[in-house]
């Protein structure tokens, strides 16, 4: 057992209102620099939809993630031998056209245009070339199912669905969607790290944040191709790759990352999970059917004395251990089992989990009324407006079992709370629903509390990283005395 700590995340999709506040918070802090205008380290997609970059989930096209070949784990995009031949031209690299060409508007024209019979307009201009452009698409072009015949219909998760089911999804009276906010998953088995020829990408031992060392990156672009979630981006101006840094300067002082802090719907949870690093390869090789269970198995119980001893032996700080024991993520993922990893079949072992959305699934219109309780409690889930197979493809590595379990439990919690607060469902019925959903009244209360009442200190439980000690360990703190602070700090400008 090799105990390590990982700052992990849960996004509660039922609470996401698709407002993009997270994206804007991130953009304003990190990606408004030259060359990074097209990047959205945090983006919010409408599902079904093609996402950003377009159809990123289709690895037949993008070649991201891992595959198991002859019992060995290998990157889909490249191999150690191939990388020599692919270094001049990476065949799996998406281009800016797969994302979008960033633009602004020539607002000054509104004021400076000469007097005429026509209203002055602000023409869109490319933020790359500065020339006027015709806008073809943007990062959330299909928001709220806009143009869904073109976008939603091409969602890669729909490919395994029967034509009838797909047609149902397109019927206007059954239209349904939910939001899917995405950031870097800070995976346990990151494909980006494994693909970097320069060794510029790394996972921080202390908290598992995956970073790109900007001084070591040489712009070989392998990480962009290898990440199946397309969360590593190439800065065309500086010639370096960039990605979500989980706002580590904030994390290190015990603050939530900007996207978490700004989340209006309070959908984001952050906490520590302990895992067994010696089992990463074994878990990543598990066949799809058992992948979700194996992945849960790698997460260790922070109250187990053996785990605590192992953590201490590995130098995990006490504050980190305390956070792991109070972790909301551990509850969601391991205890309640209602948070699931997206596209586990990419085998990077993502540490961002999603509570699958129940609301668009549940609200069925029958004879003009929204039905609430059926004798068969979970009938509505099987008859869901969102086909279960679609959610299974997204959160269950192609299998619906874990998704159904999570939705049934959420539904039972709602019935329970309905019985407690409204009373139009009897306690007996609610308790039976809980039993059938593998839940107890106590657990239902806990899920209810964490889902709806938890304040920021309950949702975000992270320790400061003892940076003060770390820096002294790393380097002489006086090494920069009298040397920096007067223009000697290098600006991230394109080299020659």
């Amino acid at each position: 057992m090799d105990v390590r700590a990982q700052i992990s995340m849960v996004f509660h999709l039922d609470k996401c209102i698709g407002c993009h506040t997270c994206s804007i918070a991130c953009k304003n802090i990190w990606t408004d620099r030259k060359g990074s205008e097209y990047m959205w380290w945090n983006n919010v997609e409408t599902k079904p939809g093609t996402g950003y970059p377009t159809r990123w989930e289709s690895q037949q096209e993008y070649k991201g993630g891992w595959e198991v070949v002859d019992g060995k784990l290998r990157l889909k995009s490249t191999s150690k031998a191939q990388i020599i031949f692919n270094i001049f031209h990476n065949p799996s690299l998406p281009s800016m056209d797969d994302y979008y060409e960033p633009w602004s508007y020539r607002y000054a024209d509104l004021f400076n245009a000469p007097e005429s019979d026509d209203q002055p307009t602000a023409r869109p201009i490319s933020m790359v070339t500065g020339d006027p452009i015709d806008i073809k698409a943007g990062p959330n072009w299909d928001d709220d199912l806009g143009g869904s015949q073109i976008y939603a219909a091409n969602d890669p998760n729909l490919e395994s669905l029967s034509p009838e089911v797909r047609a149902q999804l397109q019927a206007i009276e059954r239209l349904v969607f939910f939001y899917f906010p995405r950031i870097c998953n800070h995976c346990l088995n990151p494909a980006c790290v494994a693909s970097c020829p320069s060794g510029a990408l790394y996972k921080r031992g202390e908290d598992g944040v995956v970073l790109i060392d900007q001084k070591v990156c040489r712009g070989w672009r392998s990480c962009v191709a290898a990440c199946p979630y397309k969360k590593s981006y190439f800065n065309w101006s500086t010639g370096k790759s960039e990605k979500c840094i989980l706002c580590f300067p904030r994390l290190e002082t015990g603050q939530a990352p900007a996207c978490f802090h700004s989340c209006v719907g309070r959908i984001r949870y952050l906490g520590v999970m302990l895992y067994d690093a010696s089992r990463i390869e074994e878990v990543a090789k598990t066949p799809n059917e058992g992948l979700a269970d194996a992945f849960r198995g790698i997460v260790l119980d922070p109250h187990d004395p053996a785990v605590i001893a192992g953590a201490r032996a590995n130098g995990i700080a006490e504050s980190m251990l305390e956070s792991a024991q109070a972790s909301p993520i551990y509850q969601f993922v391991k205890v309640w089992k209602i948070a699931l990893a997206p596209h586990l079949e990419f085998r990077t072992l993502p540490m961002l989990f999603y509570v699958p959305p129940l609301l668009p699934v549940m609200s069925q219109l029958k004879d003009g009324n929204v039905t609430t309780v059926n004798q068969n409690f979970f009938h509505d889930i099987e008859q869901a407006r969102i086909p279960m197979q679609f959610l299974g493809n997204l959160f269950g590595a192609g299998h619906v079992g874990k998704v159904t379990y999570a939705l049934r439990k959420q539904m039972a919690v709602r019935m329970w709370r309905r019985a407690v607060t409204v009373g139009d469902i009897t306690r007996d019925v609610a308790e039976r629903a809980l039993r059938e959903a593998d839940c107890s009244p106590d657990e239902a209360e806990a899920i209810y509390r964490m889902s709806s009442l938890a304040n920021i200190n309950e949702r975000i439980v992270i320790p400061p990283s003892h940076r003060e000690e770390a820096i002294e360990m790393m380097a002489d703190p006086l090494v920069h005395k009298q040397s920096v602070g007067f223009g000697f700090i290098e600006r991230p400008e394109r080299g020659t």
Partner: protein, 244 residues
Amino acid sequence: MLLLAQTAPASPSFLSNLDTLLFAVFPYVAMAMFFLITISRYRSHPFTYSSLSTQFIENRQHFWGLVPFHYGVIAVLTGHVVAFAIPRSVLLWNARPLRLYILEVSALIFAVLTLVGLIQSIHRRLTSSKVRTATTPTDWIVLAMLLFQLGSGMYIAVMHRWGSSWFATSVSPYLWSLVRLNPDISTIVPMPAAVKLHIISAFLLIAFFPFTRLVHVLVVPNMYLWRRAQVVRWYRDRRVRSSQ
């Protein structure tokens, strides 16, 4: 120099001084600049070491420029290094005409490959507005220098046959004399102007190298083939460990 010699009856001492300056002094200046500036740039501005790829903003023409250019230029440069390092073996190889033709023709093929790639790269930078945005003045100078170097080299290969043999007998001893810090330019002085220009512009390119994107040649990944898949950095106790 040829022009100088024809138009003005310059004194022989001036010409020989110029030859000494260009072929015995300048190479050392160029090499000194190459080593000192690349190292100091690597140490003080590591951020600027990058391939500065533009594949992300233009992915179609990129293949037809960058791939032939790189394979071509690597082969051509390897040829120069081999002729410099083992001139005797090259001469022995060239003793049979058939083998000489094979060597010369394959060298020319790689040169053509490089030329195709280089012209395509220049064309791409001129026609794609996005790539043009990401091109610095230095990039244009580098492309022009490379084009001149390649053009003069191909001219020599075609007009002054057989380069692989006389390189081994005349240029290689000169280069070795530079290495031995005892420059002997007697074999270079009588060379045709094209050859002299090719040598001078090569040293110019070496001198200019540290200021350009060409430094990416020095940071080609070499450890990747041997390192473990995952990289973990520990800050707390400076342990640098790898897993998996």
